[in-house]
Amino acid sequence: MSKILTYLAVQDGKIKRASLEVLSHCRALAQEHGWTVESVLLHPDARSLATTAQQYGAETVYYMDHPQLQAHLNAPFLAALHAVITHANPHVVAFASSEAVKDMLGALAVRTQAAVLSDVASFHIIAGGVEAKRPVMASKLIARTQAQGARVLVSVRAGAYTAEEAPTEAALVPLPFTFDVDTLKQQVREVVQDALGTLDLSETQVVVAAGRGVKDEAGKALVTQLADTLGAAIGASRAVVESGLFPASAQVGQTGKVVSPDLYIAVGISGAIQHVAGMQNSRVIVAINKDGDAPIFNYATYGLVGDLYAVLPPLINEIKQVLPTTPE
């Protein structure tokens, strides 16, 4: 029987929601095709995290809990994934797309002799492989793409699927981590955490994003206040990342993160195609911009033509009045 293996990425001590979304989709595919769905966890706390994997329907959870797997570094994670894939021998391996996964996927495909599709919006199983829809040309259109082979790796954009609980009695299978750290030819000297809140853009259901219209610290404070009121992560266009007002990890777009939350509020963003490529699949899009002709209004569910400095204060107030409880 064929198998589909889902990689469950860990961030801030939890399995990433985007990984659970992919696991839920893999479970549905496995049911449809009579396959088994398995997952893999690579983290020092993997054993306790495995209960979450069981909640979401993995039938077997392979794990490695070596201390070296605490933080991302491509060589040890590649070695670990290669070992798990060799052991489990799945036909399809699915990942939630992230910078850490992008840092490994091509190399892993070569090492495991797999065909590979990255950053897909959706995928399904076909005879002899996988078919996926990939946004291309700055997400102006979709390429229907097939990968053929005995093994296919696929990474999926966040928000493509919904995570649904489906508890199982999964077997937990520890595997040895045999990577020799003395062979490392690279090391992480330091990780400079961005100071902009702790909410991960690809993990929240609401994103408030700032663009060129946000000119100064006062504007940034309004954006932050709106985000805090909504329990939202903060995004940014390339312009305000380059100006230094927002950190690079907040950048949404072709170059930054691709998000598809329930609600995306674009504050002072004009809507260059490179930015739109990163947010156009959001369910509800709100645009607030002085310029009524800004291209962002072509994508907005609700467009407000007005000065963000004038609109945000009453907007924050009005939202506070309708929210049942304001998140901390």
Binding site: H72, I142, A143, T145, Q193, D194, R283, G303, E318, L323
Partner: protein, 251 residues
């Protein structure tokens, strides 16, 4: 210091395009140097600003891609190898990386730079595939690159922050366009580029690609939205009313 840079010619994604019977048709035939690769070339030039060294470009592509090689030579690279494939060659990231790796194995270099992805397909696979083929330590999505004695120090934008990596040479780094602003070739650079050596080697993929585009589709249509003007308080109230009662995203 020897720096190798892999570059690619891509269609200009800002030019108008449409889909005809499932195929992609560009309304202009404009081809450009992949923007991320331009950042890789720029990064190489910056590394050599106060240092002896050379920059060797590697491009896999059809005959017309030689324009793109000239562009990168005009920026200041010293020589190039053009791995020439027929216009209709079927290539994916896997085959491209294999062909490039086979050639790169015959050269020595301290650093191999690539763009982090190509701006037409945004797949971002070829760089790490090359690193694996060549057994090189690597860093992807670099926004900063410097040299410290024998080490290459790359700052990569990770998921939650910037990871400052030290790599032994030879190594591979894939470059973000947030790393720099690639220079525009000067007239002098363009003149000099015509005399710089370009070696052309015909190559043929030894397999059919494992991934293939079956056809193109337009994006799913968005329901047209509404646009309001008015007093800030009125706008705020109207929006909250719609978000709460119509879209039901506030709860």
């Amino acid at each position: 210091m020897k720096i190798a840079v892999c570059i690619k010619q891509v269609p200009d994604i800002t030019a108008p395009l449409h889909i005809q019977n499932g195929a992609l048709v560009f309304d202009t035939n404009r081809m450009v140097l992949n923007a991320y690769d331009a950042s890789a070339v720029e990064a190489a030039l910056v590394l050599l600003e106060n240092r002896e060294g050379s920059i060797h470009l590697f491009l896999l592509g059809p005959d017309r891609a030689k324009e793109t090689i000239r562009k990168a030579l005009a920026m200041g690279a010293h020589e190039a190898t053009h791995l020439l494939v027929p216009d209709d060659a079927a290539l994916d990231a896997y085959l491209s990386a294999s062909l490039l790796a086979e050639q790169l194995k015959q050269h020595t270099f301290d650093i191999l730079l690539c763009g982090k992805q190509s701006q037409d397909t945004d797949a971002g696979l070829t760089g790490t595939m090359l690193a694996e083929h060549l057994a090189l330590p690597y860093a992807t999505n670099a926004v900063g690159l410097t040299l410290e004695d024998d080490l290459v120090v790359a700052t990569r934008q990770g998921d939650a922050g910037q990871e400052i990596m030290a790599l032994e040479t030879p190594c591979l780094v894939t470059c973000s366009n947030d790393m720099n602003n690639p220079r525009i070739p000067s007239i002098k650079g363009i003149m000099q580029s015509k005399r710089k050596p370009v070696q052309t080697i015909s190559v043929t993929p030894d397999a059919t690609p494992s991934t293939q585009v079956m056809g193109y589709e337009p994006l799913p249509e968005r329901t047209p939205g509404v646009q309001w003007e008015g007093e800030p308080l009125e706008l705020a109230r109207r929006l909250v009313h719609h978000l709460n009662d119509e879209a039901r995203v506030l709860s």
